[in-house]
Subunit: 335 residues, 2 copies
DNA sequence: GGTATATTTGTTATCGATTACAATAATTAC
DNA sequence: GTAATTATTGTAATCGATAACAAATATACC
């Protein structure tokens, strides 16, 4: 390994001068700069990131905890994070937690072992134990998407899920739907509560009855969409509108509806959340809520960067605007 | 920050003993172990990964260069990499290169700056310049999916794209198709060449004429599928079978076919490559080549781990088996 | 030209661990 | 009980950089 010592000898200067030439070029004369750079080139020298970091105490790395890397929605968020990170000189360490709390805890502790400077949480389970909570209080951490349940309030960048849910239901009500069903994802989350109460609020205002049995599902997957739709179609009175809590679920639901020989949206309207890429190209294209995922990621990283640099935050919670995309998977209720 | 010094003082031992207690517990007596562990707990001490790595010269981190994080096919590979990495004590640094060679080069150089021990390449552009090539020769590197063009031969874990392509074409020929079209992704790649020559070989054997104009497209995206399909449908004689070089392209192609009021597969059969999750749930479900993505990732990581640990490889190139999944997007050629 | 000031470079301590080597304590052998 | 051996702990060098401080050199000014 070529190290700074070797370069300094090659250039005939001290190691300090080499370091200065590379990190603060204004402090050295043109002549020595030239000498040093020549030696650097000849030796093929690159400063060890490890050594630099250990000395400066900064890794310029942040950890992102993702529940599921395969979900393109999270990937859009990560795209935004990456962009903002790059602009600020941070590298992103992506960690697929698979909802496994052990993994999550392992990855989170990277911040404590000087492996990263901060953490962005796209999941919502960490911190889970009291131990973690205490531990987490000292580390710069931002939550994107979902509020974290903890004594200490972490900055949150999220969506107004309550309003988004209301928009979807309004859209369906305007088409004359009265028999609603919901296929949910993870139940213990703020997202879940907000969306459900948004739904309930509109139905109450419109005087539409809602059967609690029409809430099914337990995960954000295509398979859950299929299985839950199967359950719904087996019920005595079939719903005419199904609200899925993400696009994957909606894709599964539509698949099952078609499989049973029914038609979307003539028999059943299906709507989703997230607006993943493929949902626009389904047959029929999916009506969904477009979340400004990229922007959410960007903001999350900006906030985390401020936190790491001890820049005081103006506000600890931000809600970004959503957009209702009316496509062909929703239509008039069958008569 | 609680460091090893503070813990050693708290426990009344030397820093060396603390280090030994944590890393080589057999070397200390039960009594001191107890003392030290108590101090560790009290101080909430965690060894600095940075300091450890700088001393040992090992980061236990590997870099994975991904052309596109949003593609679920790559995510399956990464899942396999992560699993094998975890088993071997490695952490994965995921880098979305976006096909940008500057980014790719930046990330690749992490191995040279002691930020990672090795590299897995899912793309195929690095190393691109002579400079990079020289640089890349010294670093442990494995290519998954695609062969790398370089003097030095890197280990490769890939698919027999030639055979897979032949299987797809055979399948379509058996349905009586004679007018073929191809929508390709990135053109300058071994994958591209292998698949095309697979196609050509079968058509030659079967005495089916192939019009070179029927090769369109330039990227692995839904949009490219749409645009390319539009081009194909504008031609005087419409193809009856379209081979798409990944599932995203196929999804776009099917979408455009439907938009123009045609039917898949009655009018046109569409087949893809990769078998991403959603392709099974399209309407109609997509006939495609299932690549053992997870397994490819696993093997890639295993090989890289051996490379890093200077364990000699038994062979430098591996081809994993594929599977043709016949679904409903392909059927008999129209009469 | 000589002193004061500014600029550039070198020396050396430091970051937080690990580890070769030295020193001490505990066992064993006779 | 003493010498020889082994097990445990401590001391200090080291990894590869950075940065405070000191020293040397260059520039400014009268």
């Amino acid at each position: 390994m070529t190290n700074i010592k070797k370069v300094s000898e090659l250039a005939g200067v001290s190691t300090a001068t080499v370091s200065r030439t590379l990190k603060m070029p204004d402090m050295v004369t043109a002549r020595t700069k030239e000498k040093v750079m020549k030696a650097v080139r000849e030796a093929g020298y690159r400063p060890s990131w490890l050594a630099t970091s250990v000395k400066t105490g900064r890794t310029n790395t942040i950890v992102v905890l993702v529940p599921n890397l395969v979900n393109p929605f999270f990937m859009r968020i990560i795209g935004g994070i990456e962009q903002a990170a790059q602009e600020r000189g941070f590298t992103v360490l992506l960690c697929d937690t698979q909802g496994d709390s052990k993994r999550e805890s392992d990855y989170a502790s990277m911040v404590l072992t000087n492996r990263a400077d901060g953490l962005i949480q796209l999941d919502h389970s960490f911190p889970f134990s009291d131990d973690d909570a205490k531990l987490a209080e000292t580390i710069p951490m931002v939550s994107v998407c979902e509020r974290i349940h903890s004594e200490k309030k972490y900055p949150v960048v999220s969506l107004d899920n309550y309003a988004a849910s209301r928009a979807l239901v309004h859209h369906l009500v305007s088409y004359g739907h009265t028999r609603f069903a919901v296929i949910v994802g993870q139940v213990v989350s703020q997202i879940h509560k907000d969306r459900l109460s948004g739904l309930r609020s509109v139905l109450a205002e419109e005087d539409i009855e809602f059967d609690e049995d029409m809430i099914v599902g337990q995960s954000y997957s295509i398979e859950n969409g299929i299985e839950s739709m199967r359950q719904l179609l087996a019920k005595p009175t079939r719903p005419t509108a199904v609200i899925c809590f993400n696009d994957d679920i909606a894709i599964g639901a539509m698949h099952e509806i078609h499989r049973q020989g029914l038609h979307v949206p003539n028999d059943i309207s299906v709507v989703g959340f997230d607006n993943v890429k493929v949902s626009a190209f389904m047959n029929p294209p999916l009506t969904t809520i477009d979340q400004p995922a990229y922007e959410m990621g960007r903001r999350g990283m900006e906030v985390l960067s401020d936190l790491i640099n001890s820049i005081p935050l103006t506000r600890s919670s931000e809600m970004l605007p959503f957009q209702l995309l009316e496509r062909q998977s929703s239509g008039p209720a069958p008569v």
